[in-house]
Symmetry: C2
Subunit: 336 residues, 2 copies
DNA sequence: TTGTACGCGTTATCAA
DNA sequence: TTGATAACGCGTACAA
């Protein structure tokens, strides 16, 4: 049972209105009583109730963030960007997990609405456009980061998967590779397809035909296992390089290579995607595409704040960056 | 401006009291009107305001979690455990970062109090006992996870650093090592000291004297760099094995070894601490001490819930587990 | 310069 | 079975 302005009012022998005003520095209150009341508030350990303030102001200064799983270091980094900008703007963030379950994701959003968050940020959602219909009821700005669902939806911040993948493939082509495999995933259909689009675009632009047999999305329980499962097929298909949907997949592939004595990068070049921390620690360090994770979160939050201030916003598409490390090499016997 | 029970009341031609009761399934309301009102609520897209409910009930069904930085994959996993248990119990979690700054940490706690969170969980705090004094004012249960400050403080869940370190050293001793280095850190004084205590206890118990020159806490900006910085001294001191404060330090050491052509584990055995994900991907995979991260979070949250239900709680000390992988080996020329 | 009264959305108490 | 009213803690229009 916290102390309220009424308690202070009683102690000071004034009305609670005066206390409220003194605490907020209203010029209407004399300096003397203001000082006295503030001192009293400190002594009594008063902290204003954001709950009561919210009820009145109809704002909670609160942002809800939905992520699929906390196990994904990639997502977590985005949350870091969100929290940073939100905190600086005086907003607190609710963090909730959907466990990659679309139903649960909607439950979480519902809970956020019940708590009257001022805005919602959804990271790597698989629900996507469903929000459009729900949004008629929930009068809350929703920003999607790296949404995984096709279709138009509200506001979004995302990475340019297509040109990022192109970057990766162009790098491999420039190293002389022609038989370049791709290990994808069925769990994130949109970005998977777009990275594949970039893959194909790079081949087209280089005027090189590509062999569909080199494209695979093995079924497996995790990204790592998908990478491990991909090696056999790709070696049989005589791939000399592989572009992986993400770093975890690439790391799985790398582990399989070590197990089967396939030398990386000499026998097989590998490119990942994301640039998560382990990519740097692995042997050899992984050549990969770096996503601006923190920036994604920051931008999404800025967009949310703009939306709340009724400023114009525009969907954002961010560029990625190729990070060349040691898992890719010139194809032997290929002209420079 | 959301829909309220008054809006529904008007539409239904009843009082808002009736609506409230119907929605909550009060037996006092006839089935007919209950059904009619519920249908109306659905149609109008009504969601109750947790803010208003909180004001009345004096409970927010909310837990505030303070972490030092989101960059630490270790901490984040604990948050996962917290979120899981909290969500299941109908609580939402606020996540906030202190950026390893004690002042900021208190600001965050203050903000949580202002928001009237029902409880607070602080992970790897460096503030620690300061809470005792603040707690007189903040009438909120606070549970500390792996607190980094000496002294008594409220409620806590932590890992048994001493016996965990002993586990690591005993493993190395059993492999024949006698000159075992330790690379520590000054940034987390308490756990660092306790791991060092465990290190020394293991030597004592084995009846082997240890050489203080083997103990080092290099100054560096990050754990990784601390590991890298440690190699020179330890090789000069003729260490045949090294126990590192955490996995990142161990990985840094590993990277330095590769750079200077020190073969791991044949020339140098390395043991880490934490068992973060990259420990598995690194070459060679890291022998390490696994902290029950998710469980730490789960237990802290259960403790919080118990506290809220005025049940007895007891501080928890969890055991760690030795995970033997490939970065440790029998000392050459040592008897089995 | 300070106080009274009302409302934010909800639930609980009491009366009808 | 239903309704009027007060209360939770706070801010503000209006009155004094």
């Amino acid at each position: 049972m916290s102390i309220t302005i009424k308690d202070i009012a009683k102690a000071a022998g004034v009305s609670h209105t005066t206390v409220s005003r003194a605490l907020r520095g209203s010029p209407a209150i004399s300096d003397e009583t203001t000082a006295r009341i503030r001192q009293l508030a400190r002594d009594m350990g008063y902290t204003p109730s954001a709950v009561a303030q919210s009820l009145l102001s109809r704002q909670t200064q609160t942002i809800g963030v939905v992520i699929t799983t906390i196990a994904d270091p990639f997502t977590v980094q985005i949350v870091g960007g969100v929290e940073e900008v939100a905190q600086a703007a005086g907003y607190s963030v609710f963090l909730s997990t959907s466990h990659n379950n679309p139903e649960q994701e909607l439950v979480v959003v519902e809970t956020f609405h019940r708590r009257r968050v001022d805005a919602i940020i959804v990271i790597s959602s698989r629900v996507g456009s469903v929000y459009s219909s729900r949004l008629d009821q929930i009068q809350v700005p929703i920003v999607l980061v790296n949404n995984q669902e096709e279709g138009d939806y509200l506001h979004s911040v995302a990475v340019d998967d297509i040109s990022a993948a192109q970057l990766a493939i162009e790098h491999l082509i420039s190293l002389g590779h022609r038989r370049i495999g791709y290990i994808g995933t069925a769990t994130r259909p949109k970005s998977n397809r777009r990275r594949l689009d970039g893959y194909q675009a790079a081949f087209r632009q280089a005027g090189i035909p590509f062999d569909p047999v080199l494209i695979r999305s093995p079924e497996a329980d995790s990204d790592i296992e998908r990478g491990q499962a991909g090696l056999g097929h790709l070696k049989a298909a005589k791939a000399t390089a592989v572009f992986c949907y993400n770093d975890l997949t690439a790391i799985g592939l790398l582990m399989a290579c070590r197990q089967h004595n396939v030398a990386v990068p000499y026998e097989l070049s590998i490119v990942g995607f994301d640039d998560i921390e382990p990519a740097l620690y692995v042997t050899p360090p992984l050549t990969t595409i770096r996503q601006p994770r923190t920036k994604l979160g920051q931008l999404a939050t800025k967009m949310v704040l703009d939306l709340l201030n009724e400023r114009e916003v525009q969907d954002q598409i961010l560029d990625c960056e190729l990070v060349v490390r040691k898992s890719t090499a010139q194809l032997p016997n290929s002209a420079q």
